[in-house]
């Protein structure tokens, strides 16, 4: 491997391994070296697991050379946000409350990635219990943005975004309750896929909010997200929120392009959420490019953002408080200040507010679903960007702004964040493609067509091309 260049994507590594041109052991050693070499600057990992990784890589290499290749992900490194269980490893959720929490079994998602032959490199930083940070009063520091380490990585799948953007890992698992896959993707310039609620199992993943939590991948490209979802998606009878629906072949439709598709551009929705002129221009250019590629792009109106926010900011804190109330009352000092205060807000939600939010949620879900009777996908922003300075990130108990992303946690539809340009300060800007429930293949197809034509993936942070 030439360490002067960015490491291969999931799809590139897969092709090289299949052709016998890349050794899983070499690839794993390179990932371990990058992880160790960059972690002082990025704080992406809570724990790096070299012994386990080397043993898995050796097994993968022996299997592949022996003609027992399990599939396209065999022998390729990955990482887990540290709320995912991996048998025998700690799951800390970035909290001192869980410092001694050793997982007795794999999360369903971990088990699927392991069965696919992937090589776990380590557990990745989050914000405590997957709430939005950053916090500086925890046993582990917050992750930093590889494009500029003075800047925020976005919400809680922070180590996942940093590790993928820095070229340490081609795949890192995240979780998304209000945007925590898509915001690190947006701020770190990666792809982040929040699948439909119910598409990917949450069993073995530390919960934040039962009815909003969604597990999914962060990757460098849309094709990589499709490859990962192929393994991750599917019914889990031990997850009560899991949908028992067939899983399509995501790769077979990925390259079908957008000719004939109708894309609803929720321009006003982004504008109303505070997207600035620079990012709005990038989104307009994305809409124009999709039109040039053969899609019909029409402006659509989503319900007011404050309705989505009222739903998300009632349900999420209320459910989180239910999970944490005992610790918040008995040992509040164990949490970081920002986590404690944000979780405590959930204790102020009344039963009537919670029920009203669930009623409004159903109305909003139906309204968004009705847009898909006229459109195949929606285009909007993820969050007003680019990434703020870490030192200037809102760490108050009440976030002054809520990202656009949380609208689609409230409604459950699949949504993917991907780069749509760069700000004047060199940081990535991001767009969001949203699809019908359980129609991730259209989301991936639209995003792939845009990504290939726009070419933003060729630009990586300088850190990603440094020698390991």
């Amino acid at each position: 491997m030439n360490s002067q260049h960015a490491p291969p994507t999931l799809a590139e590594a897969s092709r090289l391994i299949a052709a016998g041109d890349l050794s899983p052991v070499e690839l794993t050693e390179a990932a371990l070296a990058r992880a160790a070499g960059l972690n002082d600057r990025l704080a992406a990992f809570i724990e790096i697991t070299p012994d386990r990784a080397r043993a898995a890589a050796r097994r993968a290499e022996a299997d592949i050379t022996g003609g027992r290749r399990r599939g396209p992900l065999h022998g390729i490194p990955y990482g887990l946000k540290d709320i995912y269980d991996a048998k025998g490893l700690r799951t800390t959720a970035h909290s001192r409350l869980l410092l001694d929490n050793i997982a007795a079994e794999d999360a369903e998602t971990t088990a699927r990635l392991e069965a696919a032959g992937m090589v776990l490199i380590g557990k990745l930083a989050t914000h405590e219990f997957a709430t939005g940070g950053p916090a500086f009063d925890l046993p582990f520091p917050p992750a930093r943005n590889p494009w500029n380490t003075a800047h925020f990585t976005g919400w809680s799948s922070s180590g996942s975004g940093a590790a993928v953007a820095a070229g340490i890992l081609p795949l890192a698992m995240g979780s998304d309750t209000g945007g925590s896959i898509r915001l690190p993707a947006a701020y770190c310039g990666t792809v982040g896929l929040k699948p439909t609620y119910g598409r990917v199992s949450r069993r073995g993943v530390v919960p934040l909010c039962y009815s909003l939590d969604t597990c999914g991948p962060l990757t460098w490209t849309v094709e990589d997200a499709a490859l990962a979802l192929q393994v991750l998606a599917g019914h889990d009878p031990r997850d009560p929120g899991s949908a028992d629906l067939p899983v399509p072949d995501y790769r077979s439709t990925l390259r079908q392009g957008v000719v004939g598709l109708r894309i609803g551009y929720a321009r006003r929705f982004s504008e109303d959420a505070g997207v600035g002129a620079e990012q709005q221009a990038a989104l307009d250019a994305a809409a124009q490019l999709l039109q040039k590629l053969g899609a019909t792009v029409v402006e659509v109106a989503l319900p007011p953002n404050d309705h989505f926010q009222a739903v998300a900011r009632t349900i999420s804190p209320a459910e989180s408080f239910a999970i944490h109330q005992d610790d918040l009352r008995k040992r509040p000092e164990m949490y970081a200040r920002v986590t404690r205060e944000r979780l405590m807000l959930g204790g102020f939600v009344t039963a009537a507010q919670y029920v009203q939010a669930q009623r409004l949620r159903r109305i909003l879900t139906a309204k968004v679903a009705s847009l898909f009777e006229e459109c195949d996908a929606l285009l909007t922003a993820v969050i007003p960007g680019p990434a703020p300075l870490l030192a200037e990130t809102d760490d108050g108990p009440w976030r002054k702004t809520q990202p656009i992303s949380s609208a689609f946690n409230a409604t459950g539809q699949p949504a993917l964040a991907l780069p749509c340009g760069f700000a004047a300060n060199g940081l990535p800007l991001s767009a969001q493609i949203v699809g019908r429930a359980f129609n991730e293949e259209i989301v991936l197809r639209v995003a792939h067509a845009y990504e290939q034509a726009a070419g933003w993936t060729s630009r990586r942070p300088a850190l990603a091309t440094l020698p390991a």
Binding site: R313, F348, R362, P397
Partner: protein, 65 residues
């Protein structure tokens, strides 16, 4: 003399069974009222037929084709 807002927030803290340090009281009080302001939209009238979502209504629907 506490204002009605002070009393409302103090009652909410008691009902939740929480202890908030004095130096964070004002920040939490502001957060509480910011949250209540956003949640005002939940007071808009709904019909009897508008039932809660137990989980998101994600029954696969036919698209436009």
């Amino acid at each position: 003399m506490p204002t009605p807002e002070d009393s409302e927030f103090a009652a909410a803290v008691r009902r939740a069974g929480l202890a908030i340090p004095a130096e964070r009281w004002e920040a939490m009080r502001d957060a509480y009222f910011s949250m209540q302001a956003l949640l005002k939209v939940l007071d808009d009238p709904l019909t009897y037929a508008d039932e809660p979502a137990v989980l998101p209504d994600l029954a696969p629907r036919r698209g436009r084709r």
